[in-house]
C-alpha cells in the first residue's frame, strides 16, 4: 500500500489528473487594469465565447486561477495587482496582455507606468499586440492550457521561491510599503 502511494508513476498520474482539471477550468479574475480590459467582453461573450474553452470569469481573487493584466499598469495599480495576486490560491497563473506589459508599449516614457511586468509578478504567458484581438487572447489561453497540461506553468512557484527578489523590485517602485505580510 505504502509502496503504491509513494510510487513515482502513480504520483505522476495524480499530477496528470490534477493538471488536466486545472487546465480545463480556468477562472479569470475580473480585474481590468488598462484599456485592454475592453477586449475581455467580446472574448467572453457570444462572438468569441471563451467559455467553450473552459475559461470563465471569477469575481474575487480567492476563487480565481488566472490573473489577466490587461494593459498598462500604473504604480498605484501595481500595488493592488500584487495584493490581488497574493490573495489568489495556488496554483495561479498570470497572463500579460498587450505590449504595455511586455516593454511599456506606447507608455514607454510615462513617469507612472511600469515597463516590464515580470519584474514584479511572474508571468506565464504574454500576449502581444496593442490591443491583442480576442483571437489572440484565446490563443494565449490555449498556450496557457498547454503549459499547465505539461506542468510548466510554474510562475507561482517561482514567485514563492524568489519572493525576495520580487519584493525588492516591488519596493523600489512602491515607496510607501504598507502591505500586509504574505505568510505562505
Amino acid at each position: 500500500m505504502n509502496y503504491v502511494l509513494n510510487d513515482r508513476e502513480s504520483a505522476k498520474i495524480v499530477e496528470f489528473i490534477k493538471n488536466f482539471a486545472r487546465k480545463n477550468s480556468l477562472w479569470v479574475l475580473a480585474y481590468g487594469t488598462g484599456c485592454g480590459a475592453i477586449e475581455i467582453p467580446p472574448t467572453m461573450t457570444s462572438r468569441y465565447d471563451a467559455e467553450r474553452f473552459s475559461v470563465r470569469g471569477a469575481a474575487t481573487p480567492r476563487q480565481a486561477d488566472v490573473l489577466l493584466i490587461t494593459g498598462y499598469l500604473s504604480v498605484k495599480t501595481l500595488k493592488r495587482v500584487i495584493r490581488s495576486y497574493e490573495q489568489m490560491q495556488d496554483p495561479k497563473y498570470v497572463i500579460g496582455f498587450g505590449s504595455c506589459t511586455i516593454n511599456g508599449g506606447m507608455y514607454w516614457d510615462s513617469y507612472n507606468t511600469i515597463k516590464q511586468l515580470d519584474l514584479y509578478i511572474p508571468v506565464d504567458v504574454y500576449i502581444n499586440g496593442c490591443m491583442p484581438r480576442p483571437e489572440a487572447v484565446l490563443a494565449g489561453f490555449a498556450k496557457l492550457q498547454e503549459l499547465i497540461g505539461r506542468g510548466q506553468a510554474n510562475g507561482w512557484r517561482h514567485y514563492k521561491e524568489n519572493l525576495e527578489w520580487y519584493r525588492q523590485n516591488q519596493r523600489k517602485l512602491i515607496k510607501n510599503w504598507k502591505m500586509p505580510d504574505y505568510n505562505w
Binding site: R62, K79, S84
Partner: protein, 611 residues
C-alpha cells in the same frame, strides 16, 4: 417544617439576610446568594407535589402547594434561578447597592415560587405584586438616563394588570364565595356567561401584561433591556412565564375545559400578531439587548398562540416552548450581558468580531440562537414543529402562515445577533477583550448543553410536561423519547435527523481538515478581497449600519399603514394618560403602595353594592 414553606422562607428570609451580608462583606454575600440559589433548587426537587399547606389568616383560608401543572413552571424557575444568580456574581461585581439588588432578586425568585404554589387568589395576588414591585425596582436600579420613563411604562402596565387581576378576584369572591383557584375552575361552568367572560378577560389582561401579549407588550422591550442582564435572563426567561402560567390557567382550565374555545382562538390571533410584529421590530433594532427584548415578545407570541389554540399538541408545544424559551433566552441575555461586561457595549454598530476573543460565549450564543430560530437538530425545532403541526392538523391555516412569517423573519435577527456581536472584521479597539469569567460562561454552556440534548432526546423534557398536561385535564398524553407525532400520524424521528446531520458533518469535517492540510492557513480578517485595495490600520469594513434596510423597505407599508397608526393611537393615548397619571405617581414607592391599598379598600366596600 414543610418544604414549601421552607422554600419561601429561604428566598424571602434569605433576601433579607443577603441584604445585611452584603453590608458586611461582598464575598460573604456572593457565597450566600449562590448557596441560596442552589439550596432553592435542591429544596424544589424535594417537594412532594401533593403536599399542601393551609393557613387561616383573618378569615381567609389560604393554601400553598404545587400541582402537577405548576410544578413544570417551578422546574423552570428552580433551574434558571441558580444559574442566573451564579452568573450574576461576576456580572454585577463592582456595581453599587448590590445588597439592594440581590435582595430584590431573591424576592422575585421567592415570589415566583409563591405564585406557582398559590392555591388561592389572594396569595397569588400578593406574590404577584411582590414580584412586580421587586422587578420594577430592579428595572430602575441602574439609574440610567431615561430609566424613569421605562420604569413608569413598566409599572403603569403592571398596575393595569394588577388592577384587572384584583377586580377579577373581587368578582370571583363575590360570585362563588371562595377564593380558591380550584373552586373557580370547578364551578366555572356554573357561572353566567357574562361573569365567565368578565372574570376570564380581566384575568387574561392581568396575566397578559406579564406575558407581553400584543396590546400590552409596550413595556417589555424597554424593561427587558434596561434591567441588568443577569436579572433579565430570569425576567424574560422565567418571569414572563408566570403570565403564561396564568393564561394557561384561564384559557385551558376555565374556558376550554368548560367548552368555550372562542376566547382562546382570539387570544391565538393576538399571539400570532404579537409574534409577527415583535419579530419585525426586533429586526430593525441596533442594540442587542433591545433586539432580544423584542424577540422575547415575539417568542411569547408563539407560546400564547399555542395556548390559545388549546389542542393537546398545541398546549404541549406551548409548554415545551415556554421551558425552552427560558433556556435559550436566558442564555442569550446572559451572553449579551457577558459581551456588555467584557466589551463595554451591546450596540451592533460598535461591536464586531468577538468570536476569537470570547469563544465559549459564542458557542452558547450559537446554540441558543439555533434553538431560537427553530432549526434542527437543536431543541427549538421540536417546539416549533409541534406548534405548526397542531395548527395545521387543527385547520388554523392562517395562524400557521403568520407564525411562519414570524419564524422566517426571525432568521434575520438571529443572524444579526451572531454577526453583530461575534463575526465580521476584527477591530483593534476590541483587541484586549477577554473571555468572560468562568462563573459566567458555565451557566451559559450548561443551558446550551441542555438545548442540544433536548434536541435529540426530547423525551427527558416531555416526561414532566406530560405529567403537567395530565394535571391540566388532557387525557392520553403519549410521548416517545425522540419521536414526535401529530394527530394525523405523521412523525419525525429526531435521532435520524441528528444522525444524518451529525454524521455528514463529522465525515466532511475530517475530509476538509485533512485535505491539503499543509496548504491551509489562517489569515486575518483584514486580508480580504477589497478589489485589491490594502486596508489601512484604521479602516474597518464591517457592515453594521442599516443591516436589513432592503427588508425594512420591503415591509415598510406594514409599519406605515397598520402598525404605526395603531401604535401611535395607543401610544399617544398612553402618553396622554401618562401625563395625567404622572401627577399621581410621585416616584415614592410608599405612595404607590397607599394607592393600591386605597383601591383595594374601595373595591371591597363597593363589592357588595355592585354584585
Amino acid at each position: 417544617m414543610n418544604t414549601l414553606v421552607l422554600l419561601l422562607i429561604l428566598f424571602f428570609g434569605g433576601g433579607l439576610i443577603t441584604y445585611f451580608a452584603y453590608k458586611i462583606s461582598k464575598i460573604i454575600g456572593d457565597i450566600l446568594i449562590a448557596l441560596i440559589g442552589l439550596t432553592g433548587a435542591y429544596l424544589f426537587f424535594q417537594i412532594d407535589i401533593h403536599s399542601l399547606v393551609s393557613i387561616k389568616l383573618a378569615g381567609l383560608r389560604l393554601g400553598l402547594g404545587f400541582n402537577g401543572f405548576s410544578w413544570i413552571f417551578g422546574l423552570l424557575v428552580a433551574i434558571l434561578s441558580p444559574l442566573a444568580l451564579i452568573y450574576s456574581i461576576p456580572y454585577m461585581k463592582g456595581r453599587e447597592r448590590l445588597e439592594w439588588f440581590y435582595m430584590l432578586f431573591l424576592f422575585v425568585i421567592g415570589a415566583m415560587f409563591g405564585i406557582l404554589m398559590a392555591r388561592d387568589w389572594v396569595s397569588l395576588f400578593v406574590f404577584w405584586e411582590i414580584m412586580t414591585w421587586s422587578s420594577y425596582l430592579i428595572v430602575i436600579y441602574s439609574r440610567g438616563k431615561g430609566l424613569d420613563k421605562v420604569g413608569l411604562k413598566y409599572i403603569f402596565f403592571s398596575a393595569v394588570g394588577a388592577y384587572s387581576l384584583l377586580t377579577a378576584i373581587v368578582l370571583i369572591g363575590a360570585t362563588i364565595k371562595s377564593l380558591y383557584i380550584g373552586d373557580l375552575i370547578n364551578f366555572f361552568g356554573v357561572l353566567s356567561l357574562k361573569n365567565q367572560l368578565l372574570i376570564g378577560i380581566l384575568l387574561i389582561i392581568g396575566f397578559g401584561v406579564k406575558a407581553a401579549v400584543m396590546p400590552l407588550h409596550v413595556w417589555a422591550p424597554d424593561a427587558y433591556s434596561s434591567a441588568p442582564m443577569s436579572f433579565t435572563s430570569l425576567f424574560s426567561g422565567a418571569m414572563s412565564k408566570m403570565g403564561i402560567y396564568g393564561l394557561i390557567l384561564v384559557v385551558i382550565n376555565m374556558y376550554l375545559n368548560h367548552g368555550i374555545s372562542s376566547v382562546g382562538h382570539w387570544l391565538a390571533w393576538f399571539g400570532a400578531i404579537t409574534a409577527v410584529m415583535g419579530t419585525f421590530y426586533a429586526i430593525i433594532q441596533d442594540d442587542a439587548k433591545k433586539l432580544l427584548a423584542w424577540s422575547s415578545v415575539a417568542q411569547l407570541g408563539y407560546i400564547v398562540t399555542g395556548i390559545g389554540v388549546g389542542t393537546k399538541l398545541a398546549v404541549f408545544a406551548a409548554i415545551f416552548l415556554a421551558l425552552l424559551h427560558g433556556a435559550f433566552k436566558g442564555t442569550l441575555f446572559m451572553a449579551v450581558g457577558a459581551v456588555e461586561r467584557q466589551a463595554g457595549t451591546t450596540k451592533f454598530s460598535e461591536l464586531r468580531a468577538l468570536i476569537r476573543k470570547m469563544p465559549y460565549t459564542f458557542i452558547s450564543t450559537l446554540i441558543a440562537v439555533i434553538a431560537l430560530a427553530g432549526i434542527p437538530p437543536i431543541a427549538g425545532f421540536i417546539g416549533k414543529w409541534m406548534l405548526y403541526e397542531s395548527l395545521i392538523t387543527d385547520g388554523h391555516v392562517w395562524l400557521v402562515v403568520l407564525l411562519f412569517l414570524a419564524s422566517t423573519a426571525g432568521f434575520l435577527y438571529s443572524y444579526r445577533i451572531l454577526f453583530g456581536l461575534f463575526l465580521g472584521q476584527e477591530e483593534d479597539d476590541y483587541k484586549d477583550v477577554k473571555e468572560a469569567p468562568v462563573l459566567m460562561t458555565i451557566p451559559m454552556l450548561l443551558m446550551a448543553l441542555f438545548l442540544v440534548v433536548a434536541g435529540t432526546l426530547p423525551g427527558f423534557v416531555f416526561k414532566p410536561i406530560a405529567q403537567s398536561m395530565e394535571a391540566l385535564g388532557f387525557a392520553d398524553i403519549t410521548y416517545q423519547m425522540s419521536i414526535l407525532t401529530n394527530s394525523w400520524g405523521d412523525m419525525v424521528d429526531m435521532t435520524y435527523v441528528a444522525m444524518a446531520l451529525g454524521v455528514t458533518f463529522v465525515v466532511f469535517l475530517i475530509v476538509i481538515t485533512l485535505v491539503n492540510r499543509r496548504g491551509t492557513r489562517y489569515v486575518t480578517t483584514k486580508d480580504i478581497h477589497t478589489a485589491g485595495e490594502p486596508p489601512s490600520e484604521d479602516d474597518n469594513y464591517h457592515f453594521a449600519l442599516d443591516f436589513f434596510k432592503p427588508f425594512e423597505r420591503a415591509i415598510a407599508p406594514v409599519f406605515k399603514y397598520s402598525m404605526t397608526r395603531i401604535y401611535n393611537v395607543i401610544g399617544r393615548g398612553v402618553e396622554d394618560f401618562f401625563q395625567f397619571v404622572r401627577r399621581f405617581y410621585t416616584g415614592n414607592a410608599q405612595t404607590y403602595a397607599l394607592y393600591v391599598v386605597i383601591f383595594f379598600a374601595i373595591l371591597l366596600l363597593l363589592a357588595k353594592q355592585i354584585f
